[in-house]
């Protein structure tokens, strides 16, 4: 799966399932965690979705803004772990 389509998939998941605004698009550089857009109760949902969809595990201790804070960083993380 390519970088852009990973971002697209993540964007739809966050808009539909976490924000409940299906029409909303999320910019690649838009802060997700530090801005509070994704609240702490939803972080584990995001991690489980990433695991189910891309087969990449994100540990609970990595679920913070210093590991990834936007779609660009998250998709890079997914790609680098898929390659490993």
């Amino acid at each position: 799966m390519m970088h852009d389509s990973i971002q697209q998939t993540l964007s739809s998941f966050i808009a539909e399932r976490i924000l409940k605004q299906p029409k909303r698009t999320i910019r690649p550089d838009e802060p997700l965690i530090s801005s509070g857009l994704i609240d702490s109760f939803s972080l584990v949902d995001l991690a489980l979705f990433v695991e189910d969809t891309f087969g990449v595990h994100i540990a609970d201790t990595e679920l913070n803004a210093s590991t990834f804070d936007n779609l660009e960083q998250l998709s890079q993380l997914i790609l680098s772990r898929k390659a490993a």
């Binding site: 409940k20 530090s34 509070g36 609240d39 109760f41 972080l43 201790t61």
Partner: protein
């Protein structure tokens, strides 16, 4: 014994090497604190407070997260005879301006003389100290408290406190909550612990496992003060760690043979839905004798979901229990009999909604499952009253009024608020709706507009005023309310805001700005946000926002748009 310090001295002398608190942190070995270490390190804090001139009876605010310093600084305040209060700490997501505003709100009535915090936050508190009205004289920084070589327990001023003296304050979060500190006496806490530990048959063989924050009554009383004052081992993890990895709770129960846990209702759903098998491989939950559901309305469906998910790991159905509690009563008002599962009944849906009656449903009628919060503890009495304070019969829904021997002394420095909370004959009006049937108390929800998300109390007016700070939103024309989500087992926050702009793109920008502003300033996620045109929001004749009427209008007009099922209870 008259006070906390005397109890602590007894354990310190009798069982100094008993591990009483175990702190868990991810990727670190667990840290066990004995009574000896607890007392010695608390003494370091007590001496530091005393040397800075902090006096018994003064308030010390603790702005600390899960960890050793929170434990030591709390008991240090107790040993000095000062009044500790844990600030509902705010995360890095919050703006410094909001933190300052929250602290100012807290300081306004609480009038603390000292604050304990982390190095990262020291400058912030100092800045606030210089404000002319501030009563804070000293900021203590965790990690910089000098060690004392000697411990002279018998001369610690905490030993001299009277049973009726205030021992601690509890606040709920948000600007409104921070201005209402619940002040509790030593005696009130002891009376609660006597009644409650008998109800749950607490023994020193019990092991409490908890992820609850200590600024909340459920965490502070059931999972911090009760175990330490009763010699029961407690294993604690941080709420921040648990919410990212709910399996840690189950793993800790298995590792420590945990017997008791308290959870808000949403946590049953959260654990059932968000834990993978691989994270709990080999976990054995058979030691868990009670998992007590408390601090938001309890749901039978949540218990079922939790049981079905974890029964294969040795979880017993009878372990799923309920309780009704509030900070103003120290903690528990009711507790279910631990020998059996909570009583569940089916009531007629129509009579409930239209007549506020909880009649048992005939088989053919649409019904609601109601789960009891248990029986009133022997040290308390409960009445159900109407809007005029008159008693209502069984199965009539009204406000829960309470009297007990463990009530708050006052809302700290708020005689006006304290007076309003009580009926003339001394009954405390809880602000919760419920009904009694066959000695069981069923709690339905808040009478006032407060929203409870995951056990956390949220005042809608705090959210509404934040939304009004966004350009484009009509000042005074926003309304916030809670909507119960059966999947999550808790309420979600909905917000409606009036705007003039019709342009779709501009509206999206405003919606975004509102979300971010509220997340940054309150750490609350708005789940349902709807912008509307002028004159949508309904107001009462006196110009107040009528939240329940607006909620009904919202569900009617937009329920389908947001995919909200018609499961609203009130």
């Amino acid at each position: 014994m008259n006070n906390f310090s005397q109890v602590l001295r007894e354990f310190y002398q009798r069982e100094p090497e008993r591990v009483i608190v175990t702190l868990q942190h991810p990727n670190q070995p667990d840290y066990g604190i004995t009574y000896r270490e607890l007392v010695e390190c608390a003494n370091d804090y007590a001496m530091a407070y005393a040397q800075a001139g902090i006096q018994p009876g003064e308030v010390i605010i603790l702005i600390l997260q899960h960890g050793k310093d929170l434990v030591y600084s709390y008991w240090g305040a107790v040993l000095l005879g000062a009044i500790p209060s844990i600030m509902p700490f705010l995360t890095e997501k919050l703006s410094p301006e909001r933190y300052r505003a929250d602290l100012s709100a807290l300081f306004k009535y609480t009038r603390p003389t000292a604050v304990v915090t982390y190095p990262e936050f020291e400058a912030e508190v100092h800045a606030l100290m210089t404000a002319s009205s501030s009563t804070v004289r000293e900021v203590f920084v965790a990690g910089r408290i000098p060690r004392q070589e000697h411990l002279d327990f018998d001369h610690l001023p905490g030993l001299q406190r009277q049973a009726t003296d205030i021992v601690l304050l509890q606040h709920s979060s948000g600007t409104t909550g921070l201005q209402k500190g619940v002040a509790l006496s030593h005696r009130a806490v002891f009376n609660q612990l006597d009644a409650y530990s008998a109800a749950i048959r607490l023994t020193q063989d019990d092991v409490i496992v908890s992820w609850l924050p200590l600024y909340h009554d459920m965490g502070l009383i059931a999972c911090f003060l009760m175990p330490i004052l009763r010699g029961v081992h407690v294993v604690q993890m941080s709420p921040f760690d648990w919410v990212r990895a709910p399996w840690r709770l189950l793993r800790a129960v298995s590792d420590y043979r945990g017997t008791l846990t308290w959870l808000p209702n949403f946590a049953y759903n959260f654990c059932a839905q968000k834990i993978r098998d691989r994270d709990i491989e080999g976990v054995d939950l058979s030691s868990w004798r009670a998992i007590i559901n408390c601090s938001e309305p309890v749901r039978f469906e949540s218990h079922q979901m939790f049981y079905e998910r974890f029964q294969a790991y040795g979880l017993r159905f009878e372990a799923l229990q309920t309780c009704y509690a509030m900070a103003e009563n120290v903690f528990a008002v009711t507790q279910n009999d631990l020998n059996q599962p909570p009583y569940v009944e089916k009531i007629d849906r129509q009579a409930f909604h239209e007549k506020h009656l909880a009649h048992l449903a005939l088989d053919t009628r649409p019904a609601l499952y109601m789960m009891s919060s248990g029986q009133v503890l022997p040290n308390a009495a409960v009445r159900i009253v109407d809007a005029h304070g008159r008693d209502l019969p069984e199965r009539h829904i009204g406000e829960i009024a309470l009297k007990s021997n463990c009530m708050l002394t006052e809302y700290y420095n708020r005689p006006d608020v304290t007076r309003k909370a009580f009926l003339p004959d001394g009954w405390y009006l809880t602000g919760d709706y419920g009904y009694l049937a066959q000695n069981e108390l069923f709690v339905i929800g808040r009478k006032k507009d407060m929203i409870i998300v995951g056990g956390r109390n949220i005042y809608p007016q705090d959210i509404e005023s934040l939304a009004c700070e966004i350009p484009g939103v009509h000042p005074g024309r926003t309304v916030a309310f809670g909507i119960f989500d059966p999947l999550q087992g808790t309420e979600e926050v909905a917000l409606v805001a009036e705007v003039d702009i019709n342009d779709q793109a501009e509206q999206e920008q405003i919606a975004d700005a509102i979300r971010k502003h509220i997340a940054k300033n309150s750490a609350i996620a708005i789940r349902y946000l709807r912008l509307v045109g002028p004159k949508w929001v309904l107001k009462t004749s006196s110009g107040k926002v009528a939240r329940s009427a607006n909620k009904e209008k919202f569900l009617r007009e937009f329920g389908e748009e947001f995919g909200i099922q018609d499961t609203q209870l009130s």
